[in-house]
């Protein structure tokens, strides 16, 4: 086979890419769509965290991921990569950022370079779905706190201890109950009443 492997020609991204590009509605058509996406990608690289509509954010994310991965693969001495960076980043100081800041940051990254999280929807509205698109490793406070699942978080340690204590006390109770039921079976109130009545009847019979 003389055919080149596709995976070596195009960098494989760590996000799911749909088969066809999403059609974003624009007066200028496909050209306007790309303009919009360029603006978004530029904003993402500049601010590292932006909030926007889902469709636009999801579409821009793919181009941003591709750009970063190309930059990591080829470096800044590769002409097509540089041209792509020049095309996608409208503010030219961000080209420096791409090669000098983002490439070292994501070089050893095993996951996707960006993350997309659903923003809260305003109550009782039919507004469009908003998302927060961000570059990983940004200096802002984290959106999702993953410490909740951390076993060593003080709350989790205390909860685990409380659970353990509760379980132990339950086991002790169960063990005590097992010992009691084997020795004697306590009589119920109904049985007692019945025996009393029988006794009374016997007394009446003897009187007659």
């Amino acid at each position: 086979m003389n055919q080149a492997e596709v995976s070596k020609l195009v960098s494989k991204l760590r996000i799911k890419i749909p088969n066809e590009p999403r059609k974003l509605r624009n007066i200028k058509g496909p050209e306007g769509r790309l303009d919009k996406l360029r603006k978004t990608v530029t904003g993402l690289f500049k601010y590292e965290r932006i909030e926007l509509n889902y469709s636009r954010g999801d579409e821009a994310r793919q181009y941003a991921e591709r750009l970063i991965s190309e930059a990591i693969r080829h470096g800044d001495c590769h002409k097509p990569t540089m041209e792509a960076a020049n095309y996608w980043l409208l503010e030219k100081e961000l080209i420096h950022k791409l090669f000098k800041v983002l490439v070292p940051r994501f070089q050893d990254c095993n996951t996707a370079y960006t993350s997309i999280i659903n923003a809260p929807r305003a109550i009782n509205t039919r507004s469009t779905e908003k998302v927060v698109l961000e570059l990983k490793g940004n200096p802002y406070p984290p959106l999702v706190n993953k410490q909740m699942n951390n076993k060593l978080l003080i709350q989790n340690v205390l909860l685990d201890a409380a659970k353990y204590d509760y379980r132990q006390s339950k086991y002790r109770e169960m063990a005590e109950k097992i010992g009691i039921t084997d020795e004697i079976k306590p009589t119920t109130n109904k049985d007692e009443n019945r025996t009393n009545q029988i006794q009374l009847n016997d007394n009446k019979l003897t009187e007659n």
């Binding site: 601010y47 999280i117 923003a119 200096p139 802002y140 003080i154």
Partner: protein, 198 residues
Amino acid sequence: MGARLWRFVEIMKYMERTILSNFFKQPPKELGLFSVTEADANVKAPTKGYSLKDIIGDGYLLAVPKFRRTIEKRLKRKYGSPEYVWKMIVPKNNIKVCQECGHHHECGRLCENCYTKIETETKLIKDKIVEKLGGSPIDKEVVVLYENETPEQPKEFWKGKRIIEMKKERPSWFSKNLLQKSTQEPSDSKDVKPTDLA
């Protein structure tokens, strides 16, 4: 000559409109939008050849619905359609309690309370970074330091990094180590508490 005559005619018309009509207590002709001819009482209505024009005369009819709307259409207007826009009030079953703050939020979305808090802080940092870096080429990673924060990392860590200082204390929820509050120093107040009370 012609112009003068025209002017005279105009004046006469104006006189007729204002003075004469006022004198005879008639409304000005401009307000007479409809001129419905009243049928004479003596003249009998024509028995045949009856048409709509006899009723409305020079007037006109407004557009009105011609047919009754079907029950399906009426109900859909009222309640909507479950597949498209369902107007009924339906309880949401995807509400969760936030692990951080205890507010309710939709499943699979960020908590609104937490997010607004983060958003405002993010905006402050963003503005600070943009103000500091300006339009210069960005070639260094940015590290945000709050007030009263001492960098604990060795010197090599700070090499090739741009420090942005926020002129406020680090918010308690944006702490790297939740077990220990790094910003608050131990108090050095020398207040003596009273002893042997009650």
